[in-house]
Amino acid sequence: MLEIFQYQFMIRAILAGSFVAVLLGWLGTFVIARKMSFMGDGIAHASLAGIALALLLGWAPIPTAVMFAIIIAICIYLLENKTKISTDAAIGIMFTTGMAIGVILLHFYQGYQPELISYLFGNILTINNFDLWSIIITGFIILVLIIFNYNKLVFTTFDREGAYLSGINPWIYDLLLYIITAVSIVLSIKLVGIVLVSALLITPSAFARLYTKSFKSFTVLAVLISVLIVVLGLILSYYLDLPSGATIILTGTSLFLLGYIFKFLKK
């Protein structure tokens, strides 16, 4: 069992994975409560444009994708709030636009690009020390932002008009949530890939919802399950020699199904 910790890449993957699991597990509770499950998918796919631009220009892919994801999140917010477009339609527009820009940019890239596959489906071997520190530092800033704005984020999630009447400007917290969710999703791309990352945002909360009655316990359980899914998924992928991203997601789905069946039988 300890053999797994002999490899630097596994230690980096487990550390980075645990950090993004805390972020996505926590943010997922807001995403689920606000009925924005499509957001994770949309941001992740749209960030292909940022990664493609970075690969083309020789820039660092993750920081470029983070900047691009912030722009995408602001565009989704503006489309949703300044036009009559619904949230899912706004995400749909930005999702496909980002993908299309990414495909066009990659068209200009000469030769085979093996790294691109790792961004699409995740590859823990590609997580280097720079990625690890990027995830830890950016993730820490996001955690501080969530902690200091937690009450207002919950208030605007459950009762926008009540929050407004209490003196809060809900739009500030909507935009904050969009941006930190977008950044967290991009930080997880090397772990599980663009195609699968949204599951890490949704599955832990879907599981936690089955067993909790308060938002506090819902959040704690979602974060714990999220970390469990990522660490267990990484260990399984190592011993079964399977792709890490897909194994993590299937571990999450299996835990959710077990949780659902157990809850059903308990009734």
């Binding site: 689920i32 009450n151 919950v154 208030f155 459950f158 008009e161 209490s166 009655k213 308060s214």
Partner: protein, 237 residues
């Protein structure tokens, strides 16, 4: 008594659709004012302008002499529908404690006491989604009691509630009004309730049809103008 709410020549448009046309009325401190009118007559639009969620296309609204945005903290609002996923776990205690009182959060004792005042006992640990329609409305009223709001606005408080629950909610509104002097504005379709409990009634159909004491306003002619049908109040003898 002073006017706590003053609405002058309020017009509100959704793009080119005029939802409210030059509506003017005042609400005095401590009154219960009801707003009646057919579906699509602009009742909820009026309420959202008063609380400051919508910005008037033209006209002026003053709450205690100030713009709604500045004085919004004295208003408690109980919406017609509460759009949240009932399967998301949040306890009654957590929900009621979301609005901070100064720099402090509300303690469990305050929340329990507030719930008790509206007839809800031992519900603070329950999930919000497990409350019935009537319990939910009473919990929302309890939340506004916590903050001692000067104005309470109810948008169809009896929507989705059975007759017993409906009576409880309206009795509670009257009790708060009498005991605390809270000004209450409520949108309602229940003409008998409106007639029984309100100091004044605003008949609205995009424009102000009439405004005054229920006994002078709720009559066959005005109801015909308002709803386009012959209607009246039920009087038991």
């Amino acid at each position: 008594m002073d006017n706590i709410i003053s609405v002058k020549n309020l017009t509100y448009k959704f793009d080119n659709y005029e939802a409210l046309d030059c509506v003017s009325f005042d609400v005095k401190t401590g009154e219960i004012v009801s707003v009646i009118g057919p579906n699509g007559s602009g009742k909820t639009t009026l309420i959202k302008n008063i609380i400051g969620v919508y910005k008037p296309t033209s006209g002026i609204i003053k709450i205690k002499g100030e713009e709604p945005k500045k004085s919004r903290s004295i208003i408690g609002y109980v919406p017609q529908r509460f759009d949240f996923d009932r399967s998301i776990p949040i306890s009654v205690y957590e929900f009621m404690g979301l609005e901070k009182c100064g720099k402090k959060k509300h303690g469990c004792v305050n929340i329990k006491e507030s719930l008790k005042q509206v007839g809800l006992v031992d519900v603070e640990k329950k999930s919000l989604g497990s409350l019935s329609g009537g319990q939910f409305q009473r919990m929302m009223i309890a939340r506004s009691l916590l903050h001692e709001k000067e104005i309470l606005i109810f948008d169809e408080p009896s929507t989705g509630i059975d007759i017993a629950g409906e009576q409880t909610v309206y009795d509670l509104i009257v009790k708060i009004n009498k005991e605390r002097g809270t000004t209450c504005v409520m949108v309602s379709h229940e003409l008998n309730i409106v007639s029984k409990y309100s100091n004044r009634v605003l008949c609205l159909n995009k424009k102000k049809i009439c405004y005054g004491a229920p006994e002078t306003v709720i009559n066959s002619k005005n109801l015909k103008d308002l709803y386009g049908i012959s209607a009246g109040l039920y009087h038991s003898h």
